[in-house]
Assembly symmetry: C2
Homo-oligomer: 443 residues x 2
């Protein structure tokens, strides 16, 4: 009887847990759920199939015994904890799956994992995850046809479903709010556009968006991710002239967010004086020039050269950024103040559903002609548990787990899902869950 | 016979060395110059008075013996080396002077220095240095009169003398070029304006300047330094409504530099792809959108909303930033590329003289009336050795050295020149070198 141990079974693992429990029953496996809080899962599954183990990471002995007794380890813990799990997997010679980016510590285990015949499969969620797999499938397909890929663009967005979209930002928090507030920070953006290297500093990022239309879902606006250049080698696209990866929002989100980035309101590097007694209006005013007789609104519009009656001001006003309402947060950074505000404004309401949108664009030459191929995936949440996020992050991991246990995957070492024997069965089974790409050959 | 050891005798110590040598002769002291390169000083002074000791910092034994034999230690080394000198001063119970900001390591030695009756006098150059002393003198004077100081602003600029000012930036490198390129980076700017806390992110800093007129020298523009707020306590100005410290340039320097900061050209955090083969025109273009048919000039002007025939474009064009000339720097950051260019454009020519400008503004209430007092210091370089920078950095240290050796200063521990018994004799003797403040009671 094969055993899987899953570390971390919080909200984003909801779909994964249910998938694994169902497969465990069908395939006669045993699933162990190790989480600091197992309460949500009590009474949901037969205890013969699913074992609930209260677990905290300081319990080294329990970590080792759970891994030692398993055939496959899945870590849905926050990414910083993966290396400690991976080290135990090396020690006990167990395979490992994580949804997270390969850290240098993880990469350093590649040789030892290989020499022990182990697979440490990472970046197997949505983004990174489905983005890699769906891109590689088309890249391999185009190359097999003899195409020369000249441009690749790819965007992903974690958004709100159209039916739940009822605010002018067309956005609600469907995942980690702090990451949304700080998105794009930490260094200049790098990409390649028609053979030209391009760099965008953070404070200009939301001013440099691209509009993408997806049939049936309307317009999205994409801003660039940190480093698109590293994907040239990763995807085997040496010689490509355009390489651009980004994140989707709904217009005019980025125009309004650009205002906040420009004035410095998303800064997380310093604590503001007397933040507790400041109002949101004061907060905006701290970034503007002192002019006794002018309103905060006119000073802001003039400072950034925007229309005082335009989209930007409409969205900021809706958010309450000009209200004389106390913030009430002690020793807060600007970013913490924004997060506090938007956690109220962008909160999911009962019944709200989320939406994941992924879109790839390939420009290629084939038989002397230029072609453009678009590929789009839109996934809607079923409810507040089986969200689009939980489905798209969890199902690839669940499906991979099945194929690893069944011995269908040959890769060894620290891997990404870039090879056909990994991505093919996953993408295929995802379609059964309505997670599929629609291709559109534009020309 | 009293002995001074001076660590570091490079360009910025030129005036100091000559001052100390002259005083040593007059007061029958012995001066030891410890520098990695003593060549420039060979044969300049009587060897009975001035001893030249080739010294590098890895020679611990020599460091200790030089300090042990001295009565006073002066460190003109780069600031990061002061703590190692200071520790040896503690060990051998010697007084110390440095021109640099007090680091946490230096501050940590305060108690031990006090308990041993030692004075470690720091921030005793120009800025920090003369700024502290001249401000404190007026603050003490105003308080003695019973004035309530409501606003304090202070700017310093290391610039080029009017007679040597022959480029449209009205700027040349008269000190460390790298620091000029990176000026303002590293965190948001904080100050207080009419009772309001204000914060400016780096990318808006050069757009938020203030014009100051100084009689006889015309207009200067000031941009804010990092943290003006900490000077409220330092200067004893609790309750002040405006606290603003900044740096001077000549208009329209900041407008043009703002363009470079905005597009990301001053970023030092990443290496540009293929920087070696890029032209300066390509360099600017990497920060702009790809648009096949538009010129770099029009794209830049449109991107930032500036006049294509305006000051900004005129200054950038003069600098050669639109030229198809190869940069030729391998693996360079944007900031390194800018530095490389401006080191050619802003180089001092033979005979060029520098200029130091410092300006304070006090707004205060006295006897129920509002008053405004300005105080300005302008120092011109004599030549390329006795520069305004070398004079204003070195002379305060030299004068302080004399008064410490003569026992005129009572302060002990890690100190700044904020007390009258330190600043009075220094400011007074500086006048003999034409380093003086002109006060202007505006109302």
């Amino acid at each position: 009887m094969k055993k899987i141990v899953l570390f971390g079974a919080g909200k984003s693992a909801y779909t994964l847990v249910n998938y694994l429990a169902k497969e465990a029953k069908a395939q006669q496996w045993q699933l162990t759920i190790a989480d600091i809080n197992c309460k949500p899962w009590e009474g949901k599954f037969s205890s013969e199939i699913v074992d609930l183990v209260p677990f905290s990471l300081d319990n080294e002995a329990l970590k080792h015994s759970l891994i030692q007794e398993s055939d496959l380890v899945i870590s849905m813990l926050p990414a910083r904890f993966h290396p400690s799990i991976a080290e135990a997997c090396l020690l006990h010679s167990k395979n490992l799956i994580t949804p997270s980016y390969v850290s240098p510590e993880m990469q350093a285990m590649d040789q030892e994992a290989k020499s022990k015949g182990l697979l440490f499969l990472n970046e197997l969620g949505l983004d990174p995850g489905i983005d890699h797999m769906s891109a590689m499938k088309l890249i391999h397909h185009l190359k097999e046809q003899g195409a020369a890929i000249e441009g690749f663009e790819s965007f992903t967005g974690g958004l709100i479903a159209p039916e739940s979209d009822n605010n002018p930002w067309h956005y609600k928090f469907t995942w980690n709010p702090r990451n949304v507030i700080l998105a794009g920070q930490g260094g200049a953006v790098k990409f390649l556009h028609n053979g030209r290297y391009k760099y965008i500093p953070y404070h200009k990022l939301f001013d440099r968006t691209e509009i993408v239309h997806i049939d049936g879902y309307g317009d999205f606006e994409g801003y660039a991710n940190r480093d698109s250049l590293k994907y040239i080698d990763l995807y085997g696209l040496q010689g490509v002239k355009t390489m651009y990866r980004g994140t989707f929002r709904r217009p005019p989100f980025c125009k309004a967010w650009h205002v906040l980035a420009q004035i410095g309101a998303t800064d997380d590097s310093y604590v503001m004086e007397d933040s507790e007694n400041m109002t949101y209006r004061d907060f905006i005013n701290t970034f503007l020039k002192y002019r006794e007789k002018d309103s905060v609104e006119i000073k802001l519009a003039y400072y950034l050269g925007i229309d005082v009656d335009g989209d930007e001001m409409r969205l900021l006003t809706w958010a309450g950024l000009f209200e004389k309402k106390k913030i009430g947060l002690k020793r807060a950074t600007p970013a913490q103040i924004l997060q506090h505000l938007f956690e109220q404004k962008w909160a999911l309401e009962s019944g709200d559903k989320d939406m994941i949108v992924m879109w790839h664009l390939f420009n290629y030459r084939l038989n002397g002609e230029d072609h453009r191929l678009e590929s789009a995936m839109v996934v809607l949440g079923d409810d507040q548990l089986n969200t689009a996020m939980a489905k798209t992050v969890g199902l690839p991991i669940g499906i991979a787990a099945k194929h690893i246990l069944n011995g269908n995957i040959q890769a060894r070492g620290v891997c990404l899902p870039l090879q056909a024997d990994i991505y093919e069965p996953i993408l295929q089974e995802l379609e059964a869950f309505d997670i599929r790409f629609i291709e559109k050959q534009v020309f």
